[in-house]
């Protein structure tokens, strides 16, 4: 049975007329790593809020349909119980920091204290999460006097320490440096392999292509596509609907038009692009093709 189950979910914020999510149907299996992509305003963050119980429990508004996680319906739950199963990293990391604590270490321990985790385990979990997010050297710093990317790492770590069954991440690497981003994707991928369920909103197609099990393309509050990364990320529907693609996909698409790409399928990763271009080049049909 799917751990996350959304059926015909439609959601409206309190002061707006049009629903921001429309008739969403989505099932996610335990241990799956699902990436959500979409243009600005598509409803990605709202989908995250819905999964995390903030819509409607915090934002109010009107939710119809079924939102179910681990067999419990959102309607029948309260936020303080819901968040034990579902952890959300907000799009703006600043919203994540509690403001109650003086150091990064204390900030990360805060949530664990609240749920009564024994001290030894707490320290181990905090240290583990700091290591995974590359902030061990910031343990004694104030969470407020950090660079943007450092703050974002603290925000991510503060969710990871809680070890929720379902991890919902809203653009968690938007301010991270490139190699840090790649590492964080790797960390998330291995957490999914070890059984955590991950739903991640991102624009970084290269790493989605490499690490996600499935891609959901969201547009105007509706699911436009839901499938295998190689299918969704190479679909001609993406560019025509304002979605970005990786440079590998876009350059191969252009090369295909020029007759410089002769493979059936467009690449989504570096390795696929290398293979495809190498075999296209050795086929040497290039001069002919260029004429057309």
């Amino acid at each position: 049975m799917a751990i996350v189950n959304l059926q015909n979910v439609t959601y409206k914020y309190p002061l707006t007329d049009v629903p921001v999510l429309q008739n969403i149907n989505l099932q996610v299996e335990e241990g799956e790593f699902v990436a959500v992509i979409g243009p600005n305003g598509a409803g990605k963050s709202t989908l995250c809020y819905t999964l995390a119980g903030f819509a409607p429990h915090f934002f109010k508004g009107e939710l119809t349909g079924i939102v179910e996680v681990a067999g419990v319906e959102s309607h029948n739950s309260i936020l303080s119980e819901w968040v034990l199963n579902v952890g959300l990293a907000f799009q703006n990391p600043f919203n994540q920091i509690s403001g109650a604590k003086y150091t990064v270490f204390e900030e990360l321990a805060f949530g664990l204290e609240n749920i009564g985790i024994p001290r030894d385990e707490m320290i181990a979990r905090v240290e583990g999460a700091m290591k995974l997010t590359g902030i061990s050297d910031l343990a004694d710093r104030s969470p407020y006097s950090l660079s943007g990317g450092q703050q974002q790492r603290v925000a991510l770590a503060s969710i990871l320490v809680m070890q929720p069954r379902v991890l919902v991440l809203d653009e968690p690497t938007s301010q991270m440096d490139p190699i840090g981003t790649r590492e964080v994707f790797g960390v998330i991928h291995s957490m999914a392999e070890s059984g955590m369920t991950v739903i991640l909103v991102e624009h970084k197609m290269e790493w989605i292509a490499q690490f996600a099990d499935r891609v959901i393309a969201l547009k105007d509050g509706e699911i436009l596509m839901n499938g295998d990364p190689s299918e969704v990320l190479t679909s001609p529907l993406l560019p025509s609907n304002g979605f970005g693609t990786s440079r590998y996909t876009s350059v191969a698409r252009r090369a295909q038009e020029l007759g410089l790409w002769n493979e059936g399928k467009l690449p989504i990763t570096l390795d696929e692009a290398v293979r495809g271009f190498n075999s296209s080049l050795t086929k040497e049909e290039i001069p002919d093709a260029r004429a057309k």
Partner: protein
């Protein structure tokens, strides 16, 4: 308007040494990208250009003005800075007022203010949102408002701190267009970014920072081809640069056009 930085050191009151000997000159009309790992000191460096931060040691001069000798309000007529986090910057009731605030504050006459505001709103595609409260907009659009409210000040130097963060492909293209337009107008643009593909496609000069110092500073292809040095500051070369290398291209390529040209050879 020339930017001259000599042997700049900066230590935050908490004791963090964020800049450790930066020397740098940017000529009038140059477009420069700054890349480098989280905490490298990028934001700290650019906050020195409009006097938000003052050197602990060393000197920063903007068109000959030493930033320690001119108030921030004066420097604002030369340098516009768009914050990494727009919420540190926005305060007005609606978008129109926000974008008009800067040029009004610089004392421009009503006609010039109106022209500058319109131009900024058109460039950022915000013209239909003038009556909206910035806090009713999504974070990504608030970033565009922050950008517009600096564009409207018509400064010779503009600084963008991670402008493409969280933006979709359409808005990234829009920001690239703004930068191209500013280049045509002869403005100096300094942009901090972690989006190396965006950096490669839109800038001629790149500076890579690490731990409060400059590691590399030069032509884009030269800097972005230095894979090992970049890795020491947590930066990967652009996607097409890496692809070109794997395919055995002799020269570093950084955008679609260069890649396809190299492929045809």
């Amino acid at each position: 308007m020339k930017i001259e930085i000599k042997d700049l050191y900066f230590t935050y009151p908490t004791g963090v040494e964020a800049l450790r000997g930066i020397s740098l000159t940017v000529e009038s009309g140059e477009q420069v990208a700054i890349v480098g790992q989280n905490g490298a000191g990028k934001t700290t460096l650019v906050k020195h250009l409009n006097g938000l931060l003052l050197p602990t040691r060393g000197q920063v001069k903007i068109g000959g003005w030493d930033t320690t000798k001119y108030p921030v309000a004066k420097l604002a007529s030369r340098v516009g800075y768009v914050f990494q986090n727009p919420d540190e910057q926005l305060f007005s009731r609606n978008v129109g007022m926000e974008v008009a605030f800067g040029p009004k504050n610089l004392g421009f006459d009503a006609e010039r203010v109106e022209a500058l505001v319109n131009d900024a709103l058109v460039l950022t595609q915000l013209a239909d949102k003038t009556e909206t409260n910035p806090y009713d907009l999504s974070a990504t659009w608030r970033k565009m408002v922050a950008l517009a409210s600096i564009l409207s000040m018509d400064t010779d130097i503009l600084i963008f701190d991670e402008p493409t963060t969280g933006q979709d492909a359409v808005n990234v293209a829009r920001i690239a267009h703004v930068i191209a337009e500013l280049r045509k107008r002869g403005k100096t643009v300094i942009t901090i970014t972690h989006d190396i593909d965006f950096c490669a496609e839109n800038f001629e000069r790149v500076i890579a920072m690490s731990q409060g110092k400059i590691l590399l500073d030069g032509r884009t292809n030269d800097v972005l081809g230095r894979e090992e040095i970049l890795a020491s500051t947590y930066v990967d070369p652009p996607q097409l640069t890496r692809l070109g290398k794997r395919l055995g291209f002799k020269n570093t390529v950084r955008n679609q056009e260069e890649f396809l040209n190299a492929l045809k050879k």
